[in-house]
Symmetry: C2
Subunit: 398 residues, 2 copies
């Protein structure tokens, strides 16, 4: 899409000195003070300029956003939540296209310009959820980039027929092969992981596996993922989401796993869940493992929380990891921007000359202040075009 | 203070049916539908009516709110934070009266109508911090109730002269005797706790002790507090703040401690710290121990987080405790309202006929929705008088 040039005046890239940023052809053309121009101008008033926030782990097909308040019905276990969701999806008509439009536009209002969304594939909905989210991705193209993960939420090996549906999902355009808890949900770690890696190899796509399994069980599954990543030459193309096992009490054991992750260039996606053990941001950073972050489900049948604000997620990541010094809190925001961009392999991402102009303006005194206060986003640009203002996407939500 | 009568029309007490609430002489006079009236009317538009939020654990004398962004300087240990704070208090002129005014009015804007604030007493500031906060309490009387805890942050036994200052603090009007980590900070648990309980007995005041000590060390100190609570007949008048030891991995040991707390009617105050073990809301509730909550320090030399919003704190409490069902999330809000009111022994608190009209209006579909979305408070009343509107206190901040 052709976009008109735009001069962002008086902005502070990543909290630095006030400067002007000229955008041409959807990219950052010039970063220099006091630029004179004949093109359209947006005055940033000294606001902080960030690269577009990256929502690297969510479920666009599941949110109840905009459907009126519904009381939580699921029992305490993972299985309860999966089964309750499959039931309510029909009873409540949680329509994936409509709901993904709502959540994606909510995200955009909060300054996310890219989303990786897992989308349920199972023997009840088949690939219809994915079709709905792909329709959203198409409709919102040029406003927000949506990457889809074919996600066998209800089990892959334990629900015959799901693997065929996963294959169909890849054929109609899923970007990533998903998986989950190969022991805890499928009770067939070899079967599931072999299938997931085979599919990824066949379609030349990356992998993103939910791993809720705690402690040694999760470590066992993680080691199987590590082995296959190396065997298939998938270094740099595999993400493990949640990875609760890395929060195990035995820190030496966890750090040894982290070292292997670094070696295999496997990424970690976290929600910074306050009630569960989680991978420690500091351990991953020290080892050179990329950590990205996401909102997970937003106000869905799994729980009532979430608002798709990745600046608030950076705050939760900071709180969960006890990050207090400014450079450490900034690293939490790095995970919610550059970290996610790395995991999604977004090209020319950042706030340097030549980068694609996916940008967010936030009124704050410093980057850490932006994280802890996360005020409504003043302006959001996608490829140089204004797509949201004052916390709200310009495209109306259905 | 005499207040004019006021009719709150179209409000939903604790998320119930739409009704009108007539306030006379600062109290709730009539709760009934479709009341006709000649008095002033505020139309709630179907908003949820809550009792005033209670900020039950904070430090009004320490916030940097409104002082411009300052980079975090403290090292990782508790001692580093205490020593850094004592240094910066002077260097940055963190003036307790001005800063407590700012934070208290911020709280009020978010709907808190009562605050329990610990205030540092030490051999450098003496009781001057307390004098500043007492001045704020006096100035804001009728808008927000501020209870002060004389808090020996830098140590009681280990800093000779502090005990005399604590005594002076009680004489000039501190409401509660404070303490902290009798092992970890003072290395004299018997000395500190005997002194704290003696002071409380002499002045007929309740006790609130910070207990960061983890695991068995914290359990040891907690048992010493339990013994003294029974020996001094202080049941119902002692609060333990943080109580990280109750988050110990040995749940049976923790539950045995909780049973003793219930027996001694000791209350727990929590911040729901995501990075530390914390007392579990469910264990305390089951045992009948009152749990209240607070923001702890807000944007101070200890850390950059916090905004004094007790609805957001209820969300963090829910996230930390993995509360998902609506009644469970409502209990998190109970802790931030009724729980705090119980701990502070607020009289005639609630939304029943005859209660003092400390009330908050929130635009939300349900109580759980109010917690997870925590939108700006539409209206805040203190003793029937409008003191904040649309998220901001009517009294201007210094």
């Amino acid at each position: 899409m052709k976009t008109d040039p735009l001069l962002l005046r008086n902005v502070r890239p990543w909290g630095g000195a006030v400067i002007d940023v000229l955008i041409e052809n959807g990219r950052i053309a010039t970063i220099a003070p006091n630029q004179s121009t004949t093109v359209a101008v947006e005055d940033g008033g000294g606001a902080i300029l960030l690269p577009g926030l990256v929502e690297a782990h969510t479920h666009l097909d599941k949110s109840l956003w905009g459907m009126g308040w519904r009381e939580h019905q699921a029992g305490p276990n993972l299985r309860d939540k999966i089964d309750t969701e499959r039931r309510l999806r029909k009873e409540w008509n949680i329509e994936p296209h409509r709901q993904s439009m709502r959540q994606a536009l909510l995200s955009l209002g909060h300054g996310s310009t890219a989303i990786r969304s897992h989308v349920d594939i199972d023997t009840e909905v088949g690939i219809s959820g994915l079709e709905g989210v792909l329709q959203t991705a198409e409709l919102l193209s040029g406003q927000i980039e949506i990457e889809t993960v074919a996600f066998p939420q209800s089990g892959l090996m334990s629900r015959p027929g799901t693997l065929d549906l996963m294959e169909q999902a890849m054929q109609i355009g899923a970007d990533v092969v998903g998986g989950l808890d190969p022991c805890g949900i499928d009770a067939d770690p070899k079967g599931q992981l072999d299938a997931v890696f085979a599919l990824a190899e066949k379609y030349g796509k990356p992998i993103d596996i939910h791993l809720h399994e705690p402690g040694e069980l999760g470590a066992f599954s993680m080691e199987m993922i590590l082995d296959r990543t190396l065997a298939h030459g998938m270094q740099g193309h595999v993400t493990i989401s949640h990875a609760f096992c890395l929060g195990m009490p035995d820190r030496d054991r966890a750090r040894a796993l982290v070292a292997r992750l670094a070696d295999a260039r496997i990424h970690i996606a976290t929600v910074a869940t306050p009630s569960r053990p989680v991978p420690l941001a500091e351990d991953l950073r020290t080892a050179g493992v990329t950590l990205c972050a996401g909102s997970d489900g937003i106000r869905d049948t799994w729980g009532p929380y979430g608002n798709a604000d990745m600046l608030e997620r950076a705050m939760l990541l900071g709180l969960r990891n006890n990050l207090r010094a400014d450079p450490d809190v900034e690293h939490a925001l790095w995970c919610c921007t550059y970290g996610g961009a790395h995991v999604m392999a977004l090209k020319d991402y950042g706030i340097e000359t030549g980068c694609i102009a996916d940008l967010v303006l936030v009124d704050a005194e410093s980057v850490t202040h932006a994280v802890v206060s996360h005020p409504p986003r003043r302006l959001v640009l996608k490829e140089g075009r204004v797509v949201a203002r004052d916390g709200t996407a310009l495209t109306e939500s259905p």
